[in-house]
Amino acid sequence: MTMNSVGRLLNILDYALYALRRKLLKNVSVFCLFALVIFFLSSFLLVSKALTEAAQRILATAPDITVQQMSAGRQISIVASAANELSGIFGIEKIDERIWGYYFDESNGANYTVIGMRTPFVGSPAALQLGLAEGRLPALAEQGKVVISDNIRQHLQLGERKHFSLFRPDLSQAGFEIIGLFDKKLEIITADLILMTLADARDLFAIPEGYVTDLLVYVANPNEIDTVARKISDTLLGSRIITRNQILKTYKVVFNWRSGLGTICLLTALAAFVILAWDKASGLSQEERKEVGILKILGWQTSDLIFLRFCESLTVSLLAFLSGYVLAWVHVASFDGALFRPVFLGWSVVRPVFSLAPPFAVEDLLLVFTLSVIPYLCATAVPAWRAATVRADSVI
């Protein structure tokens, strides 16, 4: 490309920018709407990506296999002795019993997740890994000792007090003493957790002796998880077997384009795009026709006029794309997706505090670009051609 043709292109671009400035209000409106659409699309994509990626990283150490008992399509308690039946399956390293459930706090409408476990790791280095901000874990034989999150402490309005009580199903009260607090950095998984011993959880939920909520199976060789899961399924009839891969797969699909908000964002974007395209394709004003006529008389070619319209569309769409994308990153990375947070936290009373750090992916950038800028440019191509082919003598 010679310097002459570059100069010609720059001159046309300059003229396009002057033309945009002449219709400033209209173009600023298009720019704002376009940038808003891209902001929502990109924000949704970044929030989804950040949450999906966080789940994949954090839940990478979830139990190899979770075994639950089903009855009439619903989960019920499983006989703890089922662990003995499973112990014969080659490849199983260990089986942990666990009682867990939800506790609805009528005083504030919050749902807590109560987890009762044998805590053999008390006193071991593993206890350090649990990341308690203060205190310790309950020992196996201790009664009524719990570890909770600071979030729950605030909801229970305990202040400096260490004791609180929860209701059993028969409405009698079970008293607990807080002996440890989860670190605030762990809120994304512990915001609503009350950790206690297996015996205390059994007592709170009135689960009969010999029953637990589920069994956590750990397999020595990760390659054998599916095989072991199949054997467990054959051994325990009516059981539901959930492998770690299934858990991770769930979180891969749970925040995606098929989810409600994704659909809403996409439909909004499409609606906005249709309006823009309609506006562009709805014909030329008398003034625009006159401008084309004058330019043709001055020696502009049809290709120059098409390029002129292309420059106008490209300028608006590129500026809107980059501005919307920058705002989306600021929204998600600096404000942790504040606009979307009420939507994905829903009506939760206990709301975890966590920060989002989405990974950058070129394919996401291209996806937003392809969904927004390219269709806009395509939609403006036909009107640009129509404008460029106006006969000069018919409008002057």
């Binding site: 979770t66 997740t113 593993a126 890994q129 609503d192 299934q246 858990i247 749970v254 500026l319 920058v326």
Partner: protein, 93 residues
């Protein structure tokens, strides 16, 4: 200055801004790495299966191990009314 030069300057500034934001988020991710290891430890020792994002209902608190059909699970004909399910997609295993 030519208007086209101004435009290129603005586009370049926006591109640099995007790159700066991506870079700063990447360093934020690096500082979070230690926290992720801590979280993995808790998940491992407590056998957790889900993130505590939305605590309003059991199928939003534990999507990985909740019932496979959530709509109408609590009451016949009950619609899926929690706002968070606008965000959470149906699960297909």
């Amino acid at each position: 200055m030519r208007p086209s030069a101004g435009l290129l300057g603005v586009l370049l500034a926006l591109a640099v801004l995007v790159s700066g934001l991506v870079q700063s988020t990447a360093s934020k991710r690096c500082t979070q790495e230690e926290n992720v290891r801590l979280l993995q430890g808790v998940v491992f020792h407590l056998g957790l299966s889900d993130l505590a994002l939305s605590t309003e209902a059991r199928y939003t608190r534990h999507p990985a191990i909740s019932d496979s059909v959530v709509v109408s699970m609590d009451h016949p004909g009950a619609i899926d009314h929690f706002p968070s399910t606008f965000f959470w997609a149906p699960i297909r295993r």
